[in-house]
């Protein structure tokens, strides 16, 4: 009797669980099926992948706010080729494994392209899968080189693009700026030897200087956490450069600037986006007076595009000012949707392999003005874009222009 009872209970459980499974499938399957059928008729589905919870959620939310704004505006203006754009959102919590799951889930939902992810590690995790599927993808904020390029296999992920500039790009930009805008003949560099961001930017700066014929007269470094730079700065002062490039974060800039003045350095200081809000950390704004640094975008940019973007963003989000991530998210969606419009025009069947290839080709051919500057892509799919140059004048950060 007892065993029979047990058997019954087991069977009942199995049946119930099987039912639950079926119900589970049943509830999701028609939705996605119906979705893709509907999509082929009058909507275009785009996936959004990024963190909306977890430690890096603030970046994910900022990027998504920009993407949402663009999609809303696009749909209000009639969408693409008469079709409305539908954004399918997946929260990957900043986790690489969840990002891959999320990507697969988005593909199951029938998206034709993905905007994502937000931070570097999950993006790199997803890109290998997306590369195999040849899914068009664009990230608004992952800056590492390996997002679009696999150095081990010397392979460029041809399907992957980004709207942010990569770290090394800043080194190149500031070297060009020194040569072309400031007419510098000599440069010196002081960088943080223990920080990959700093050393990476430094290398590209020096290489670009060599290419442009700017002589690097002093190259000095320090260990992370150092406070005394007098030795390095005395060497730099003796070399008397036209510009002093400091690819370091704002806290170190504050210490270096103060000691540079003591060492009698008169060179114009050049910085990178790690300098943002540097004026909050220097003891006297006069120490960095006249310095320039590059940034992803500036809210003081007076181009109509930026003014309109900021006004629309403020209108949608209770008067908030978009940060760099919001603007880059907006641009990522914009670049992708332009490419989808081109694919629609090509006449390829929605969602087919030719369609995806058409989107990728169109993205690679991007060459126009966006909120964060003029964007075109190089053969690594890294944007060749203008950077916003911020100058410190009269103790305040002011927008110099796009370069």
């Amino acid at each position: 009797m007892k065993t029979k009872m047990k058997k019954f209970v087991c069977m009942a459980l199995v049946v119930v669980m099987a039912m639950a499974c079926l119900v589970g499938c049943g509830s999701s399957a028609p939705a996605s099926e119906g979705g893709s059928q509907a999509a082929s008729a009058d909507t275009i589905k785009i996936g959004w992948l990024g963190p909306l919870t977890g430690g890096v959620a603030q970046y994910g939310e900022a990027v998504k706010s920009g993407v949402d704004l663009y999609v809303e505006q696009l749909n209000a203006a009639g969408g693409i080729n008469g079709k409305q754009v539908e954004l399918v959102v997946y929260d990957e919590e900043g986790d690489s494994t969840k990002a891959v799951t999320g990507y697969n889930s988005l593909m199951d939902d029938g998206v034709v392209a993905v905007v994502g992810s937000v931070t570097t590690a999950p993006t790199v995790a997803v890109v290998t899968e997306a590369f195999a599927d040849n899914t068009p993808m664009i990230t608004a904020s992952a800056t590492a080189i390996d997002v679009t390029y696999n150095a081990d296999q010397d392979t460029v992920y041809t399907n992957m693009f980004r709207s942010c500039f990569i770290d090394s790009f800043q080194g190149v930009t500031m070297a060009r700026f020194a040569k072309e805008e400031m007419g510098a003949a000599t440069a010196a560099v002081l960088y943080d030897n223990g920080d990959t961001y700093s050393t990476g930017v430094y290398e590209y700066f020096v290489n670009q200087c060599a290419e442009l014929g700017v002589e690097v007269v002093a190259t000095e470094s320090y260990a992370s956490g150092s406070v005394d730079f007098s030795g390095q700065l005395t060497n730099i002062a003796a070399a008397d450069p036209d510009v002093l490039f400091l690819p370091v974060y704002y806290n170190d800039v504050a210490l270096i600037a103060s000691q540079a003045a003591d060492a009698g350095i008169t060179a114009t200081m050049l910085g990178v986006d790690g300098w943002s809000s540097v004026l909050d950390s220097v003891s006297d704004p006069a120490l960095v007076e006249g310095a320039y640094y590059c940034s992803g975008y500036s809210v003081e940019d007076t181009r109509e595009l930026v003014v309109n973007f900021l006004a629309d963003y403020a209108a949608k989000y209770d008067g908030k000012v978009s940060n760099m991530f919001g603007a880059q998210g907006y641009d990522a969606a914009w670049i992708l949707c332009n490419a989808i419009a081109a694919a629609e025009e090509s006449g390829a069947e929605y969602g087919s392999d030719e369609y995806k290839q058409a989107v990728i080709d169109a993205m690679a051919a991007t060459d126009s003005e966006f909120v964060t500057g003029h964007v075109s892509f190089d053969d690594h799919n890294d944007p060749q874009k203008t950077a916003a140059i911020i100058q410190i004048t009269d103790g305040a950060e002011s927008f110099w222009g796009n370069f």
Binding site: A223, G225, D228, S230, S258, Q259, S281
Partner: protein, 292 residues
């Protein structure tokens, strides 16, 4: 010329180390305690000055308050943490000192946050640089060197010429005998801590004027380096601490100037190891007869 300029850099850094090393050396000389909380007293001194100047009060008041604050704090630490352990094994005292160090760092972090605060250094010493025969000498450098020299001279006078100084030397020589001669040991030890802390307070101001940032861990590495300076000079010896501090400062800048900037800390601590292995008494330390 550049060599001379680097030497000045080294002397400036070294004179701050020297002021702090004095506090280490004096306390060690009198109760054989390596007071690892000494570096953190500098951090507290820096914060006191920073908060007072930020509140818009005269920098002079800030300097006095900072030195006074350091003295009060050091005496409190001595009474609360070290006095009850005076007859305990030396190792207990050493561990307590490390505990006090962590305590101060974490309390500072709790109250003031971990982010570095900007020290308004130009309010204390204006940012002026003089060009003397091709050498760039800032007002901060001149003030640092001058204050360090005056402080050390005053300390030497205090120890050699006053009654309290005599008591300090006596307690340092032999605590038991000094007590029998009628010297108030508790008062003398507290006084020694106070003098060391006053020097640390002065060092804190000079340090923050040169490196205008204060954070809860400011005193950590600074204290360790000053400790190395004290050992190099001969722990327990006052002129030794001065020499050791200057030597460490110059050594750091020389290593940096030669292009090995990432090695500066390694060189400083390598000096510590070499000194302890080869000549544990340092430049000027008296040899100790199994007193430890």
């Amino acid at each position: 010329m550049i060599v001379l300029q680097q030497l000045i850099n080294g002397l400036q850094l070294g004179s701050v180390y020297a002021l702090i090393a004095l506090g280490y050396s004096m306390v060690y000389g009198i109760i054989l305690l390596l007071n690892f909380a000494h570096g953190d007293i500098i951090m507290v001194g820096g914060y006191i000055a920073l908060l007072i100047i930020s509140a818009g009060i005269s920098p002079l008041v800030a300097v006095v308050a900072s030195v006074a604050g350091c003295i009060v704090l050091a005496c409190l630490i001595e009474k609360a943490a070290y006095t009850p352990l005076r007859s305990a094994p030396r190792i207990s005292l050493l561990i307590t000192a490390i505990g006090v160090s962590y305590f101060l760092e974490n309390v500072a972090q709790l109250i003031l946050g971990a982010d570095p605060r900007v020290f308004p250094n130009t309010a204390v010493i204006p940012s002026v640089t003089y060009n003397v025969g091709g050498l760039n000498i800032s007002l901060t450098t001149i003030v640092t060197l001058a204050v360090a020299v005056v402080s050390m001279a005053a300390l030497t006078l205090l120890v050699q010429k006053t009654k309290m100084g005599k008591a300090m030397r006596a307690v340092s020589e032999d605590m038991g005998a000094a007590q029998m001669m009628g010297i108030n040991i508790n008062r003398t030890i507290t006084f020694t801590f106070a003098v060391g802390a006053a020097l640390a307070g002065i060092g804190a101001i000079l340090y923050c004027c040169r490196y205008p940032q204060v954070k809860p861990t400011t005193g950590y590495l600074l204290g360790l380096k000053a400790f190395v300076a004290a050992v190099l000079g001969g722990i327990g010896s006052i002129p030794g601490a001065m020499l050791g501090g200057l030597a460490i400062g110059v050594a750091e800048v020389v290593v940096t100037a030669l292009g090995y900037s990432t090695w500066t800390d390694a060189v400083v601590f390598a000096i510590l190891i070499v000194v302890l292995l080869v000549k544990p008494t340092g430049f000027m330390g008296a040899s100790m007869n199994e007193k430890v």
